[in-house]
């Protein structure tokens, strides 16, 4: 019997960012620029600030894009800040983001990179 091999990654964090429809690409570009390796986008409808803005509600789209990005804990804060700035989240109605610690993650890691890492710190 061959044992299944899984490479589990630790020191990972999840950044979730909710922005208006059409804004996700810009946020992802900022995150990628700061070193994030990938992103998942899904669509949602939001509720919150828009209902409290009165007439200005017309400027806020109900439809949202939710961006999920998994990052390493070292880069987490930097990616978080870049995304926050790119999404202009300090402007009312633009969106919301948060970060959570993850226990572990798994995905494809190129073998040569894995080998290089293991050679450096066995």
């Amino acid at each position: 019997m061959t044992k299944q091999r899984i490479t589990a990654l630790t020191d990972v964090a999840l950044i979730t960012c909710v922005v208006q429809k059409g804004m996700a690409d810009e946020v992802i570009r900022a995150a990628t620029g700061a070193g994030a390796q990938g992103a998942t986008v899904f669509y949602a409808r939001g509720h919150g600030m828009r209902e409290r803005l009165g007439a200005l509600a017309v400027a806020v789209d109900v439809e949202k894009e939710v961006v999920n990005i998994v990052v390493s804990s070292d880069q987490a804060d930097r990616v978080f800040e870049r995304m926050c700035a790119a999404g202009d989240l300090s402007t009312p109605g633009m969106g919301f983001m948060y970060m959570t610690r993850l226990d572990k993650a798994a995905t494809y890691v190129p073998p040569e990179i894995l080998a290089a890492v293991e050679k450096k710190e066995p």
């Binding site: 209902e51 400027a59 806020v60 070292d74 930097r78 800040e81 009312p92 633009m94």
Partner: protein
């Protein structure tokens, strides 16, 4: 200290606030029951309002900016450097284009938040409440209404002044005196298309027989008009009307309605649902306009037509610039908005959520339409007219241009044809509706037909169409005969193509003619026709048939290639 902490401390000023200090504490009334929390309205500082509105406006502004400016720049460049004529009234033209961009931006946003919700709710609820005859009647009326709300239809009115009544009496009469009935005929065609499209959704009809039938009627009427020298000029107008109708208001609203009706009647939506309605909405009005022209000709003899130049009554206040455009905007958007509100509140007894937002949308529609109409006259029609009026000076003697002909005859004609083809190609490649259609095609054909491929096929078709239109004007070719021949060819190719592809190819003709391209091409054609002394209509008609041909032929080619690769 962790490396990540160090980097962020160095770059950003953090202020950490406990969320506990921001959320409300539960309140209880005298009996100890909890009072539900209602969030208070947020009062924004002026700075925050600006920060909120800037991205909202910028995105919408840039959408239109990207569609309009390249075309305008291309025209101005060509006129200045190739035609070697300065752009007259550059400030007026520039302001006109700015007005067009702002107007379109407001209008499109208004349609999105003010009119679209109605289409969806009505398409959803109406079939559940009423029988098929009522639903189809409503679809017909909405079809007529949205035609009036189509920005490009205003270009027809602007075109009326450029027609010489002595040469084409009925054309001038229809455009100048019967504009409303003319638009009604176009609207009637779109209304019928909405009905036929809805029926098609419900019963799953094939598009091919509908195309053959309406084409047979259209070609028969074309042939009838061709045999009458006085009515010959109506052919171009009628076929151009077909291209004008399928704009950014009609297509989405008719689609929302049709899909809603089909869904309510229990038909699941297939990927090709929604295709085909554009085709019908561009063929039926052709038939209606020609029938209307024949009817006018049979009831009003030429001698009874009002004398040219006579009707110019004293300019009342409502015919002057801001008022006239505002009035025509209210005429255009008002009826359809009122009808939708009436239908929803009285017939369906429904209320839309956020009625304030809807009102804002409808107000934006009015304002945007009025601005667009102003910009249409001073920007689009002005620049298009200049370019069209100067183009003949390249190869022939024109009084307005001192040094004409600028080039030897053959080179001049070549330059003008290349100019026309590039204009058509460039205007189409950037059309956003075409990108959406391309995505649908890629899905439908499992990637055999690429999105880029469709865009280039259609754009090449439009380029060929504009070039063919210019050639037609230069050599005064008979438009009717051209159209009959080309559409018969299209019918033959339709016969051999698959159902999906027929839908795509015929729809591609409709999506290409947006609210910027139509007035521009129309103005170029009319000025060009006036300068060379021939009929200026018909370019848009050729812009519709050529993309159908290029798309059908590439489709047949791909069909053949896929078949061969499996042997």
């Amino acid at each position: 200290m962790r490396y990540g902490d160090f980097v962020s401390k160095a770059a950003v000023n953090y202020r950490v606030v406990s969320y506990n200090r921001l959320t409300p504490k539960p309140l209880t009334d005298a009996t100890g029951a909890e009072i539900p929390y209602t969030p208070p309205q947020v009062r924004l500082r002026a700075r925050d309002v600006i920060r909120l509105l800037t991205p909202y406006t910028r995105v919408r502004f840039m959408d239109q900016f990207r569609a309009v400016i390249p075309l305008a720049a291309y025209l101005a460049f060509f006129q200045a450097f190739i035609f070697q004529q300065p752009v007259r009234e550059p400030w007026t033209v520039g302001a006109g284009f700015a007005t067009v961009i702002v107007g379109l931006m407001m209008f499109m946003e208004g349609v999105k938040v003010g009119l679209m919700p109605f289409g969806e709710v009505i398409g959803d609820r109406l079939p559940a409440r009423f029988g098929l005859p009522v639903v189809l009647t409503v679809a017909f009326i909405i079809g007529v209404g949205v035609t009036f709300a189509e920005p490009a239809i205003g270009a027809l009115r602007a075109a009326g002044g450029a027609v010489d009544p002595a040469r084409a009496p009925y054309l001038a009469y229809l455009l100048n005196h019967r504009t409303f009935e003319l638009a009604l005929a176009v609207g009637g065609g779109v209304g019928m298309a909405c009905v036929a499209g809805s029926l098609r959704f419900i019963y799953g009809w094939s598009l091919k027989p509908l195309i053959y039938l309406s084409l047979a009627a259209a070609l028969w009427l074309t042939w009838k008009l061709m045999s009458d020298a006085l009515l010959n000029d109506l052919i171009g107008l009628a076929w151009d009307c077909g291209a004008i109708t399928t704009g950014p208001v009609t297509v989405p609203l008719a689609l929302a309605l049709g899909i809603g009706i089909a869904a309510a009647s229990g038909k699941s939506d297939s990927p090709s649902a929604g295709l085909g309605i554009v085709t019908l909405a561009s063929l039926f009005p052709v038939v209606c306009v020609m029938a209307f022209g024949l009817w006018v000709a049979s009831t009003t003899p030429v001698s009874a037509l009002p004398a040219p130049g006579a009707p110019a009554a004293a300019a009342a206040w409502f015919t002057r610039t801001p008022f006239a455009e505002l009035l025509s905007a209210i005429q255009a958007v008002g009826p359809v908005a009122l009808f939708l509100v009436f239908l929803l509140r009285v017939a369906l007894r429904e209320r839309l959520k956020e009625s304030g937002v809807i009102a804002y949308g409808i107000a934006l529609c009015f304002a945007g339409m009025a601005l667009f109409n102003v910009g249409l006259a001073y920007g689009l029609a002005n620049l298009g007219g200049q370019a069209g009026g100067m183009a003949p000076a390249m190869f022939t003697r024109v009084d307005a241009v001192a040094e004409s002909p600028v080039y030897p005859w053959l080179l001049g004609v070549g330059i003008v044809v290349v100019f026309a083809a590039a204009l058509g190609f460039g205007a189409t490649v950037a059309e956003p509706a075409l990108g959406a259609l391309g995505m649908t095609v890629e899905n439908l054909t499992n990637g055999a037909y690429r999105k880029k491929f469709l865009i280039y096929a259609v754009a090449a078709g439009v380029g060929l169409g504009v070039a063919a239109g210019v050639v037609k004007i230069i050599f005064a070719l008979p438009l009717g005969a051209l159209l009959v021949a080309l559409y018969l060819l299209a019918a033959v190719m339709t016969f051999f193509s698959t159902e999906e592809f027929v839908n795509i190819a015929w729809d591609s003709a409709g999506v290409t003619t947006g609210p910027v391209t139509v007035p521009l091409v129309l103005a170029i054609g009319l000025a060009f026709g006036a300068a060379t002394g021939s009929d200026g209509f018909g370019i848009l008609a050729l812009c519709s048939i050529f993309p159908i041909l290029t798309t059908l032929s590439t489709g047949l080619w791909i069909q053949w290639k896929v078949k061969n690769s499996h042997l």
